[in-house]
């Protein structure tokens, strides 16, 4: 398959603020409120990104939202985003149809740097829509499966109906990934686990002393997950989290996403847990 060139590290600010035009070529409804859109650039130049980065997606006339890329970073092809319909802009994006045009700025921010897990075990922990930003990293690790030790995905969602990428998870298992899933609430017909995602940590097969752990989900979930991983023996500097803040400009100018000394859009979204341990528990910054 064709490979993309490495993304450029820094864009001039002026061009970084101008969206490129992308056309919707496919759309999939994942759950009742979450959908995946597949976008082709109007200028024909694929958007290169590293797993963990986000773009600013524009619904023209409505606004812009930061959305992590959920597609494969190493295959030249359309851009993929998995979006939850929770506000005016995402609702406008949810109503787009094949052929519609939207704006894309970016990619922005830091990535998961999964290559740092070479020769080690890699543990992905996703909560809800947080599995979408992890997906490119999962695909990267599975594309180079022999470079890693044990690979584990621990995934929690509110209910069985809200689990993402269910069919794909079966393929990931076939590719040598241990997948453990839990939901917060289930009906009698649900045969799987019910409980917090942290409950899966003692059950997963990995060596905590040689593990890279990548966590993405709501902040409370990430905080408790990181504590549980540290409790099992994973070093805090081997744990990464993806933070969510009110990203607006994407290039560290506007300050909307400032998190004490950090600008999440440029210093993050992916940050070492050791760097933000004290911040995650704060009520206000």
């Amino acid at each position: 398959m064709p490979r993309l060139a490495e993304p450029t590290a820094v864009q001039p600010v002026e061009s970084a603020m101008v969206p490129r035009l992308f056309r919707l070529v496919d759309r999939r409804q994942d759950t009742a409120d979450t959908f995946t859109i597949v976008l082709e650039p109007n200028d024909g130049v694929p958007l290169a990104f590293i797993p963990g980065q986000f773009t600013m997606l524009s619904a023209f006339g409505v606004g812009e939202v930061p959305i992590s890329v959920s597609g494969d970073a190493h295959v030249a092809g359309p851009l993929q985003h998995t979006v939850r319909d929770v506000g005016a802009v995402t609702h406008a994006l949810a109503r787009t149809a094949v052929g519609d045009v939207m704006g894309v700025r970016g990619p922005y921010g830091t990535g998961w740097d999964v290559a740092d897990g070479h020769s080690r075990d890699v543990v992905f922990v996703g909560g809800g829509i947080g599995l979408a930003p992890l997906r490119p990293a999962v695909l990267e690790v599975l594309a180079h499966r022999e470079d890693y030790g044990r690979v584990v995905l621990l995934y929690g969602a509110r209910s069985p109906e809200e689990l993402l990428f269910v069919d794909e998870m079966k393929q990931w298992e076939d590719q040598g990934m241990e997948v453990l899933v839990t939901v917060d609430y289930g009906r009698e017909s649900w045969q799987g686990r019910v409980g917090l995602v942290t409950k899966l940590i003692p059950r997963a097969g990995f060596d905590p002393m040689s593990t890279l752990a990548l966590i993405c989900g709501p902040e409370v979930m990430m905080r408790h997950t990181a504590l549980a991983l540290v409790g099992r023996g994973v070093r805090s500097n081997r744990i990464r989290v993806s933070l969510e803040r009110n990203m607006r400009c994407g290039v560290g100018l506007c300050g909307h996403c400032q998190y004490r000394e950090l600008f999440v859009c440029v210093d993050g979204p992916v940050l070492p847990y050791a760097q933000v341990t004290g911040l995650l528990g704060l009520r206000e910054v």
């Binding site: 979006v83 929770v86 609430y185 409980g195 409950k199 709501p218």
Partner: protein, 160 residues
């Protein structure tokens, strides 16, 4: 399959208990096999047992008039189910159903309470362990009250 006496020393719930204490506890225990769908206990029943899951999966359920049956938690291999046997009036507060074919060790609560009453050390050790299970469930319930994954607080500023 190992006997109950052989199984208990390796189980985290019983970790640190000496051999005579474990023998005392094992004297109140029996192995039970369950077909999928069979119930270990029902809400409102006398809580005369607690259970350690050896294989399979047990669903902890509650029922509401509007919500129907809701699975609040599942217990897999090694997990402990039930603490009402230690708390008056000794009545189960949930249903426990085998979500798949399962095997559990059932501990007779009345038998253990009697031994705890006459052996304060055993009583304290079991109370510490049961409290840990209760604490885990309480923390899990607190976090789930936040409705982490689907809360109304989600906005376009944080859609992922």
């Amino acid at each position: 399959m190992r006997t109950i006496e052989q199984y208990l020393p390796d189980h985290p719930f019983f970790e640190g208990l000496d051999a005579p204490t474990l023998a005392l506890i094992a004297g109140c225990a029996t192995n039970i096999s369950l077909a999928a769908g069979e119930y270990l206990c029902h809400e409102g029943d006398a809580a005369d047992h607690f259970f350690v899951v050896r294989r399979g999966r047990v669903a902890i359920e509650v029922h509401g008039p509007a919500s129907g049956t809701l699975v609040l938690d599942t217990a897999d291999e090694g997990d402990v189910v039930g603490w009402s046997w230690l708390v008056p009036p000794y009545v189960s507060t949930f249903d426990a159903r085998a979500a798949e074919a399962s095997g559990v060790v059932a501990f007779d609560g009345a038998c253990l309470r009697g031994k705890c009453d006459s052996d304060a050390h055993l009583g304290y050790e079991l109370m510490k362990r049961v409290t840990q299970v209760m604490n885990g469930r309480l923390v899990a319930a607190q976090l789930r009250l936040l409705d982490l994954y689907g809360g109304p607080g989600a906005t376009d500023a944080s859609p992922r």
